[in-house]
């Protein structure tokens, strides 16, 4: 999976505007639109580009903050009698929740991390309660912030 300047240029342009026409990008690069098209297809096939999306401003649709939910889980043997609670199942539950925009397993202080957009404190508590009710969740720690709500800083949608 080798990338050259042309690939990076295409990525740079599409990061700023995913709808930009390949013809325009090609013109600026001095190459044919077909080449840009092929490069885009290759980048997608290689998994460098996972897709494209619109960047929403959470503030404009009624969200006032973001929160990180740091989740601890029970070791699986404690729940031996219950159905198996794999952290993957918890992860699946998390990302299905409305308002949760990122979820991941982590190595470190906690077992899982979820980031969500929050309307107000009542909403924050609701989300917290919902997460706490997922089987296997032992403890939940919340951090909330109102700055830096750019969901797409630099390259990655977060």
């Amino acid at each position: 999976m080798s990338m050259d300047k042309i690939d990076l240029f295409i990525i740079g342009r599409l990061t700023k505007d995913a709808r930009e026409s390949f013809r325009k990008i090609a013109k600026d690069l001095g190459i044919s639109p077909d080449t840009v098209m092929n490069r885009y297809k290759k980048l997608t096939r290689d998994g460098v580009i996972k897709g494209s999306t619109v960047v929403i401003d959470p503030r404009k649709i009624g969200y006032h903050g973001m929160a990180a939910f740091l989740i601890d889980t029970y070791p699986s043997h404690v729940l031996a009698t219950e159905a198996t609670t794999d952290t993957t199942l918890i992860l699946d539950e998390l990302i299905k929740m409305p308002n949760i925009i990122v979820a991941t397993k982590t190595m470190g202080d906690h077992d899982l991390l979820a980031i969500g957009v929050v309307v107000d404190f009542e909403h924050l508590i609701q989300i917290g309660n919902h997460i706490a009710q997922i089987p296997g969740v032992r403890d939940l720690q919340v951090s909330m912030w109102v700055q830096d709500m750019e969901i797409c800083p630099k390259y990655f949608i977060l």
């Binding site: 990525i11 995913a18 999306t53 929403i56 404009k60 991941t104 951090s143 912030w145 990655f156 977060l158």
Partner: protein
């Protein structure tokens, strides 16, 4: 002691955070621009694939291409849509790891630490938070050694008390579609 932050957006929102008792005032009621079902279909379609041809969107909606173009431009004008972007796999760009950092700081210096961190190219998000720790940051890294170095450099700031790092295990899930538009949706 009291410290206040002003958000970077044009709307002034002042948050008072005091170290002893945390009291917060949010100036809540703000007029939000409303959108209708047509707008929502356009947003949802483009969320799945931002390069979707407006011809197809128009066909699905049974409206003219002009309408779709106008609606999309309006969504950008009123700020609900900030633009479109490609979703990149950090690994594809050589960033093998994503990590979150929770940082404890001597409170009076918090803005200085935030500014210093935000300048680092590997930091995606860095923000003061309410919670057990003072700052929350997300970083992309080429190797575990880089995480170690980042941690060391942050711990090097005299006002930083502690840094907790968590590495994201593979396959983290992103779901920008989980935004709800209830607050701005016109009542039918």
């Amino acid at each position: 002691m009291r410290k206040y932050f002003r958000t970077r957006s044009s709307e002034t929102k002042i948050i008072f955070i005091s170290v002893k008792e945390i009291s917060i005032t949010m100036t809540l009621p703000r007029t939000l621009k409303k959108i209708d079902d047509t707008d929502l279909v356009i947003i949802r379609t483009l969320q799945r694939d931002a390069r979707t041809n407006f011809v197809d969107v128009a066909k699905d909606l049974g409206v003219s291409i002009d309408t779709v173009t106008k609606r999309f431009k309006r969504l950008i004008r009123i700020g609900i849509v900030r633009g479109t972007t490609v979703l990149l796999n950090p690994k594809g760009l050589g960033f093998e790891h994503v990590a979150s950092l929770e940082i404890d700081v001597d409170y009076p210096h918090i803005t200085r630490v935030v500014d210093a961190l935000a300048k680092k190219p590997e930091i995606l998000i860095c923000t003061p938070t309410l919670g057990r720790h003072d700052l929350f940051a997300i970083a992309v890294l080429k190797s575990i050694e880089d995480l170690g170095q980042l941690r060391e450099s942050i711990k090097g700031y005299p006002m930083v008390r502690d840094v907790t790092t968590s590495i994201w295990i593979d396959e983290f899930r992103l779901c920008p579609e989980n935004f709800e538009f209830n607050n701005v949706k016109k009542a039918v």
